[in-house]
Amino acid sequence: MARATKIIRNFYRDSVSLMQLSATFAKLPGVEQASAVMASPNNVSLLQEAGLLTEPVDASANDLLIALQGDADALEAALAAAESALKQPPPSSSGNGVSRSILPRSIEMGLGNMVGANLALISTPGEYAAAEAFKALSLGLNVMLFSDNVELKDEIALKRFAQARNLIVMGPDCGTAIINGIPLAFANVVRRGVIGVVGASGTGLQQVTCLIDRWGGGISQAIGTGGHDLHRDVGGISMLQGLTALAADSSTSVIVLISKPPSPEVAGRVLDAAVRAGKPVVVNFLGADPAQVRRGNVFAAATLEDAAAAAVALAEGRNPGDGGPARPPFPLTSFLAPGQRYIRGLYSGGTFCYEASLLLKKELGQVYSNTPVEPGDRLSDVWTSRQHTVVDLGDDLFTRGRPHPMIDHRLRNERLLKEAADPEVAVILLDVVLGYGAHPDPAGEMVPVIQKVRDLAGKTGKHPAIVGFVCGTAADPQNLSRQEAALREAGVILAESNAKAVRIAATAVLEAGVVGGRS
């Protein structure tokens, strides 16, 4: 172990700079310990204690002393390097003046950067979401709570807390909203207009807003409430707030409400508020008896499509049509071979699946599903269809550990091939959802698989018809007409809406005369 020292006369550096330089000198090749100090008696004795100096040095407090310890043959080069480093002017980095201000790390901190913020969109893991929503509400922000797995008691507490502050909580588990023309989370780019929508179902809201857009209408606001809002214990707080706000909003002339049928008590409260709105209100309580809904300015719609059609008609000053559209002409019989008799719906949208179940049950009797309308219709093995089956592939049972089927088409493509190989299948029903958050090119994902189904069918001589619809708009990032063209090109029979697609499928099996117990 060797030592070496160097004295630079009358050369001053402050002690902090020197400590810093010492640290860099210690990293020079062959150096074990290094120190650069002003050679005051105190510092010199420190170096002696540290074993860096063994002999007295002839230096004063005005001299800079470098002391190194390490490999004998490396020290000379290291001393030279140390001296030249000392004599370098300090790096100009001391003044590049660029502040690295840190990004906001809490909602409150974010408010410092965005003083006019009026909504917090929260999509954290569910176990943290309620706390974030409370903070947002406490700070005066409305909340859209995309997160799911929020406990019902938290939802109730949040909504009451919000209500007391004249704020709204959209959610939890609220996938879609359009506020002031801005699509939030999974939403479509729809034309602005006079129709305001409040919906407890994300895909339901998407279907209604897209159809309104398709038929020339526009949306003032689309307010999501989350699927549990009309639960008896929540009492429809958000839907009532949304309805009241749209009633008071001068830019809204027609209101649409979408939900599964609420408990009679909550339904009564919502319908009373709808009557008080003083504007036409179209209500689609999926599966409810229209007669129970219809009153005064309140119109009942049996399907999402009917709700959109009625709203557009009312907005244009026309009477909403009574009942659904006529059964569409049947174009499919020629596809079908004897024995092809069942429908298999492979849905990515939960509400579409539920609506299909409702409509098909009326036409065909028993329809199995993982999200059945009646308990007796529950599919015992969700991975295997039986007779008429519609599955919601967005259900937790399928999405555990993998992305939602609106984002990742692999799961549905696999299931599609499986269903197509079943000789008893007559029609495969599909939804295709566009908009922000959805896959950037769903048709591109689906066409190769549909092609494969047709190729296989070419050999066996028969294949099921593939019937679907695209929920989207011309202004969506994926572009509605481009997606529709690609799917048609691949042989998919496309309807405008879920309800129409379902009716085409139902008609196919009915006309083919293969439905047991019905003719």
Partner: protein
């Protein structure tokens, strides 16, 4: 009503999936992404308690009261006394130490060394071995300085015969105390207790203290806040850099000393001693900070931190609204630069009451005033400004008395809010010296450290229970 939202431009704070903020922007809307991570170190129940406290009016009102008291406090150096005579509740065989409470057996090396030194100084034992035996027999009471309105750097050992600074907050009338700074090298506060250390302590008691008492008396009191503010404009942050403040103090003191009956030789020795110690003012800075923060302590519901202190084993904080309770967690090891021959392996965990300066909005919080300090971790003057700016996100306000030239004379961020610390995960920054882990070696470096989040998480939970914040 909700429909008011329909009349405004939608401005969204996005917490979670960042693609949602991107699509809002793409659609022509306005969204700001929050860099979110589970708050309260992922402890959900504390996260919920925190949520109840955010913008809660009881807490907001309490914080205004506490912060105003801190801001309006006027610490004035009023005199020099003996700890045993002037510290509240100081008992005969009692030695005070830094940080939260700790038993003799659990103390770190430097603190044990300092306690032994204090015993020797008091003459309660004739050698270190007997002093240790005395301490371990439980014949001496150990209490935190903070429990006696006092603060001490590093080990913070204060025994009854030691001289202390007496600072009075003339606005609210509370007093604060600190011991005298011994200078660098072998010093009691680093656990050194050899004959030269005891001899210096004796000199400080017999020569320095009477001279300073006479000098301060002649001055008729010295306003510390203005002196600290002036030093901030001269490159100090009055925690780890006190060159300017010590000089300003000495400048005021010399002429006062000359007007006293202190023998000329003593004056010369006193002036030499102070002039040779760039940290001489530190203990005054600390006592001033303690006086300002005690004024803010004890406001029911307030989430303002009124003390951060370390005993070399634990880091502890006290909060205005939770009374005398300490919230503690393991003291961190400081990242910094080391004197020749030393490394992190030699360092004692964070030690001393001096983080009272950061608690009061100076030290690391006023780093923008003191670019020289940031070099301890290899930073630039811009880093100093950034550090101060970051602290604005966890504080209640700015101290208008402590202005920062490099930040266009903005006040330094002050009044740490436990809610903001826990919500953002931003840890209070502390400039500090580093003591050797073994008693008596002394200071081996200096650097920057951060107050550990665990203390703040506990404090949020305690405050939530105190406030009873259920909606």
């Amino acid at each position: 009503m909700i429909q008011a939202l329909f009349q405004e431009k939608l401005q969204v704070l996005n917490v979670g999936l960042s693609s949602f903020a991107d699509s809002i922007a793409q659609a022509g809307g306005s969204a700001l992404q929050i860099e979110w991570a589970p708050p309260a170190q992922g402890r959900q129940e504390v996260g919920r308690e925190l949520a109840r406290l955010v913008n809660l009016s009881a807490v907001e009102i309490a914080n205004r009261t506490a912060f105003d008291a801190y801001q309006s406090a006027q610490p004035v150096l009023r005199g020099v006394g003996l700890a045993g005579q002037v510290l509240p509740n100081m008992a005969e065989r009692m030695i005070l130490h830094s940080g939260p409470p700790i038993a003799w057996n659990d103390m770190c090396g430097p603190m044990k060394g300092a306690i032994v030194g204090a015993i020797l100084y008091e003459g309660w034992a004739e050698n270190p071995a007997k002093a240790e035996a005395l301490a371990s027999r439980g014949e001496i009471t150990f209490e935190p300085c903070h429990h006696h309105s006092a603060v001490g750097p590093m080990a913070g050992a204060i025994s009854p015969s030691m001289p202390v600074w007496m600072v009075t907050n003339t606005t609210q009338g509370n007093q604060a105390f600190s011991n005298f700074n011994e200078g660098l090298g072998k010093a009691l506060r680093f656990g050194a207790n050899g004959p030269e250390v005891i001899a210096r302590l004796k000199w400080m008691g017999q020569v320095l203290a009477p001279a300073l008492r006479a000098g301060v008396e002649t001055l008729g009191g010295l306003e510390l806040k203005t002196l600290m503010a002036q030093a901030l404009h001269m490159g100090d942050e009055v925690h780890n850099r006190n060159v300017a403040a010590s000089s300003l103090f000495l400048k005021r003191l010399i002429s006062a000393l000359l007007k006293t009956r202190t023998p000329a030789a003593n004056i010369a020795a006193v002036v030499d001693f102070i002039a040779g110690n760039d940290h001489f003012f530190l203990n005054l800075s600390m006592a001033a900070c303690k006086a300002m923060l005690d004024a803010a302590h004890g406001v029911s519901g307030s989430s303002m931190v009124t003390a951060m202190a370390r005993n070399g084993v634990e880091f502890g904080i006290r909060v205005s609204g939770t009374g005398g309770q300490w919230f503690t967690t393991a003291a961190p090891v400081v990242d910094g630069l080391f004197f020749p021959g030393y490394t992190t392996a030699d360092a004692a965990p964070d030690l001393g009451d001096s983080a009272i300066t950061e608690t009061a909005g100076v030290g690391g919080f006023a780093m923008a005033a003191s670019p020289a300090i940031v070099k301890f971790v290899g930073g630039t003057p811009q880093d100093a400004i950034d550090n101060t700016t970051t602290m604005t996100h966890i504080t209640l306000g700015r101290n208008n008395a402590f202005t920062l030239p490099s930040m266009n004379f903005a006040g330094s961020p002050a009044g740490i809010d436990i809610r903001k610390v826990v919500d953002t995960g931003i840890q209070p920054i502390i400039n500090t010296g580093i003591a050797h882990r073994d008693a008596g070696v002394g200071q081996i470096g200096a650097g920057i450290t951060h107050a550990p989040l665990g203390c703040f998480t506990q404090a949020v939970s305690a405050l939530a229970h105190a406030v009873g914040g259920s909606e």
